[in-house]
């Protein structure tokens, strides 16, 4: 039973990691039906920003939660700025183009950002300090969970709830939903489309930055390639849950995390990815639009 619980919480952590990145994918897809391949790179850039800022603060002799807050703030601002710029540079000029064009543009942006970080920083792995405070009560009540894992799981849950509320009840959220339903109609009734899309990219990138700080603290090392691998898994999770749906992205990520964890624990880690993708295929055969996705309605 202990073994089962260990695997369960391991999978929960892994799923939460995927979810933090998957949310950004699914938001952007929900609004402009674009698979933003550069999203993983935003997460990677946020980790690098966090590393640089936290090292600078450590040099100043700062310690404790203040470092975490300042680092996270810097990473969020920097990542949001990148997300905003990427959209303006690579996607906005192609908004009226066929759907394949922005997709290629996204892949290009992803490769560009990876190489830019590799050349400007390094291609080596860098150690990432654990910025999260140690929580003694976690070890006491949840013996299977470390403080970092606890942080990741709680943050993912809070972010998901916050995001759902934002989309349901705020003006910005309403504008987003309107744009997602019918861009031209939304424009006609006075929704500022460009601003709404920019907002989506800024929020998605900020989430990736939160993920970047937490995940890098958990893994303890970063390099320019982490965004690609995490991005692929997060994208899979978003499709599994139904791309465009926010609770779907989280559910898909958790299902993916658990599948990998249990497959490794009870079968063999040689087949970790095989199980994950077999599950993806099976779910998509039964529910082609994902676990919580709405079936695509033909727009007339």
């Amino acid at each position: 039973m202990d073994y089962f619980l260990e695997l369960f919480f391991g999978g929960l952590t892994r799923g939460s990691i995927y979810a933090l990145i998957a949310l950004g994918y699914t938001m952007v897809y929900g609004i402009i039906e674009l698979i933003n391949f550069a999203h993983g790179e935003i997460y990677m850039i946020a980790s690098f920003t966090a590393l640089i800022v936290s090292s600078l603060l450590a040099l100043q002799g700062m310690t404790g939660p203040a470092v975490l807050l300042l680092t996270a703030a810097a990473a969020i601002i920097f990542a949001a700025a990148h997300g905003f710029t990427v959209e303006k540079v690579a996607y906005k000029p192609l908004r009226q183009a066929p759907r394949l064009s922005p997709l290629i543009s996204a892949i290009g942006m992803s490769i560009f950002l990876q190489n830019y970080v590799m050349l400007a920083q390094t291609s080596d792995f860098l150690p990432f300090p654990n910025l999260l405070p140690d929580l003694p009560f976690v070890a006491e009540y949840l013996p299977f969970l470390g403080a970092t894992e606890f942080f990741i799981i709680v943050t993912t849950a809070l972010v998901m709830v916050g995001l759902t509320l934002l989309i349901k009840f705020t003006r910005m959220g309403k504008a987003m939903r309107a744009t997602a339903q019918d861009r031209n109609m939304a424009m006609l009734v006075g929704v500022d489309i460009n601003r709404t899309i920019s907002n989506t990219f800024i929020i998605g990138s900020a989430l990736a930055a939160v993920g970047g700080v937490l995940i890098a603290s958990h893994i303890g090392r970063i390099n320019f390639y982490i965004g690609f691998i995490a991005g692929i898994k997060a994208f899979t999770a978003a499709v599994l849950g139904g791309i465009g749906s926010i609770p779907g992205a989280v559910l898909g990520a958790l299902v993916l995390g658990w599948t990998e964890s249990f497959a490794t624990g009870y079968v063999s880690s040689d087949y970790e990815d095989v199980f994950a993708f077999v599950l993806l295929v099976l779910i998509l055969i039964v529910r082609p639009s994902g676990l919580l996705g709405r079936p695509a309605v033909q727009k007339v």
Binding site: G220, T264, G265, S268, S269, E272
Partner: protein, 383 residues
Amino acid sequence: MRKGMLGFFVACVTALTLVLGGTALAADTIKLGVAGAHSGDLASYGLPTKRAAELVAKEFNAKGGVLGKKVEVLAEDDVCKPEVATNTAMKLISRGAHVVLGHICSGATKTALEIYNKEKIVVMSSSATNPELTQSGRYPLFFRTIASDDAQAKLDAEFAMNVLKVKKIAVLHDKGDYGKGLAEYAKKFIEESKKAQVVLYEGITPGAVDYSAVVQKIKQSGAEAVIYGGYHPEASSIVMQMRKKNMKTYFISDDGVKDDTFIKVAGRYAEGVYASGPKDTSKNPLAIAAIAAHKQEYKSDPGAFFLNGYAAAQALLNAIQKAKSTKGEAVAKALRTHAVDTPLGKIKFDKRGDAIGVGFSMYQVKNGVYVEVPTTAGAAKKR
């Protein structure tokens, strides 16, 4: 039909050159053939050995040559391709090579050996690491100054069983050629020795976001030591997660982990980790002299396998001197009986053709640096 004629013609020419080559044997130089990749994308593996041979020949000639004759280096390029290596070998034989230093790549070496074997020529490689080359027993006149691929796995396995004295071992790898090969050999050695049990054998996914499930599995299996075949990024993740879960399990790995980046990334969690790596030759005066000679002659730092090539050339010429003959069997016997001082240390060869005393040492992270630790005398000598 035309093709048959052409084949016949080529055979005639080859036979003729072989005969001519035979007469060339009477010439008064000792011919050291050097075969390997001297051009193409793998030239960086082959050229250092060729330069080493030239330096050694120069050194011997300055001292009056071998058996009173000057040493002549005959270099032939095989671009590391097995299909070219056969031709390279025939060319060297026809030019009258007495002994051959080469080839560089394992595949090319294997095909070329079929040719040398028939002519009973002693061949010594500085870099071909495929275990089969010596272990199959097919090539009695083949020697090498580099440890075979399985030597490292054997060191890791024996270190765990004989020095750390563990009974339950988990063997992990990263599914890559290098890591998986090492893990397979380690598993084989442990199972054959019957001194310990492989309680877990598994391939992990390189680059995954975390390895908590695998770490759980190691814990569940009750392993006292982990032998990991692979590179440092995954190793550091696994070690960090093991230590965070307060697991005291020994972690033993390979050359891919014996890298300072591993210590930098894993930080304090790296303490106590074992990794095998090539023997440290940087303090050997002969190695220092050989590198200095290279710098003087070629105005650059020597590349891969330079010291292995240097040692091989020295061993070959020394064996001809000791055997007082260039006949294959006599040279081979001298290589097995007379030790020679080389940049790799004092070496001679075992009956299969592997150099004794060349190979890997075990290192452990102590206070943030890799420090050599003693393996048992038996483990180091026996190979």
